[in-house]
Amino acid sequence: MLKVKNLSVHYGMIQAIKDISFEVNEGEIVTLIGANGAGKSTILRTISGLVRPSAGEIEYLGQPIHHMPTRKIVEQGIAQVPEGRHVFKELTVQENLDLGSFTRKDKQNIAADLEHVFERFPILSERKNQDAATLSGGEQQMLAMGRALMTKPKLLLLDEPSMGLAPIFIKEIFRIIQDIQKQGTTILLIEQNAKVALQIANRGYVLETGNIVLTGTGEELLASDEVQKAYLGG
């Protein structure tokens, strides 16, 4: 579904991504793990068109997308929960969610989907008319997730969706991720919580300073010594 070929990304003089290739197949959960600054977020940003690659190609459903403006990429069905939440702070929770469905054509289903989001995140329903700026950290994280769900994506890019969430909710969030996978959405996931991520992932890639150093299925990676030592704390 998504093919990244020989991708390189620069920030000014710094090369954050060094000639990497990987792919995500329809229906999969693929996870990217790596230390701080490895370049995980940069990859997601490049796929969404927020950052332009200095070399390489990104193909989505057989079509190159690395030259498209972000909004076109979104229209093709790629949504992202960005790092640092990026909720619309001056808008209410409800308005944030409405913006999630900005490009959708199937108006009749929107109301039902909104209900669904409120069911998953009851606190958002309680805070419906509150400005997003005043939400707690975790609430904002849920809102970012809810907003992405409202776009009904074919491919969902998640950048540390569990950051700042209470333990009980981390479990919930991974359940949700599996749920939406079941409903047919493909997922590319970044997580610090590598253990859980690898448990639910079909496949994973390990990133180190802009290079892919290891790849395999979730179980393979979980079992790998290197991964254990570097990312799972023992």
């Binding site: 540390e160 969430l165 209470a166 919930e172 023992g234």
Partner: protein, 257 residues
């Protein structure tokens, strides 16, 4: 009395009680955890103690040199002067400044030379400046940041930014250090290193640390006492063992396996 006593603290936002009737006690040289579901009011509680918000009701009292000082409504910089320091849930470093400058700024109220000396570069100025830099390097060394003293804060990787925030808070010479989700965005390996560091500074600097964290490996490992908030109220309070077994906490926060 205890180092800090919070009584019946309440903060309302419009109709919402973000913190409601909370009693909280901090003794010297403790490691205290503050946990609770998202939106429980933990960050708001920190904001009340450090003067960012003014409480709707209740009192915050600090003991200093045998006297009780009421902190309610005091400006944040005064509270910092009295020995309360913090880090932020969303990192708030001085991004365009160097690591060294970030630390020096935090020292300024204790050590800085005054405006007169700085304007005219008196010997006092040079002496104070020199002392501050030495001290700052010492602090940075504890967190293995001494080699990065001239790097701009925004160019540090995430984990180092979190550490720098702690150094900066320590530089204000606090009696009580408040850490808001210090391990957020760190992987388990990094979290483990941080855990050791927090223990170390608490011992070496003889301070009390109060931390908010959702990573139970950190909280249960280092904290001696834990407070649990839910919907602004105190849900439970006790040792890590007690809290881990508390059914109400499991239901509201930890989740059952």
């Amino acid at each position: 009395m205890s180092l800090l006593e919070v009584k019946e603290l309440t903060k309302n936002f419009g109709g919402l009680a973000a913190v409601s009737n909370v009693d909280f006690v901090i003794e010297e040289n403790e490691l205290i955890g503050l946990i609770g579901p998202n939106g429980a009011g933990k960050t708001t509680f920190f904001n009340l103690l450090t003067g960012v918000y003014v409480p709707t009701e209740g009192t915050i009292e600090l003991e200093k040199d045998g006297e009780k000082i009421l902190l309610n409504g005091k400006a944040p910089y005064k509270i910092t002067d009295l020995g309360l320091a913090r880090t932020f849930q969303n990192i708030r470093l001085f991004k365009e400044l160097t690591v060294m400058d970030n630390v020096l700024i935090a020292m300024h109220s204790k050590k800085g030379s005054n405006t007169f000396h700085s304007l005219f570069r008196t010997p006092t100025y040079y002496r104070a400046e020199e002392e501050m830099r030495t001290k700052a390097l010492e602090l940075l060394a504890i967190f293995e940041l001494e080699n990065k003293y001239d790097v701009l804060a925004k160019n540090l990787p995430y984990g180092e930014q979190r550490r720098l925030e702690i150094v900066r808070a320590l530089a204000t010479k606090p009696k009580i250090l408040f850490l808001d989700e210090p391990a957020a965005g760190m992987n388990p390996q990094e979290t483990a290193e941080l855990t050791a560091l927090i223990r170390k500074i608490q011992k070496d600097f003889k301070i009390t640390v109060v931390l908010i964290e959702h990573d139970m490996s950190l909280v249960m490992n280092v904290c001696e006492r834990i407070y649990v908030l839910e919907y602004g109220r105190l849900l439970a309070h006790g040792t890590p063992e007690e809290i881990q077994k508390n059914p109400a906490v499991i239901k509201a926060y930890l989740g059952g396996d």
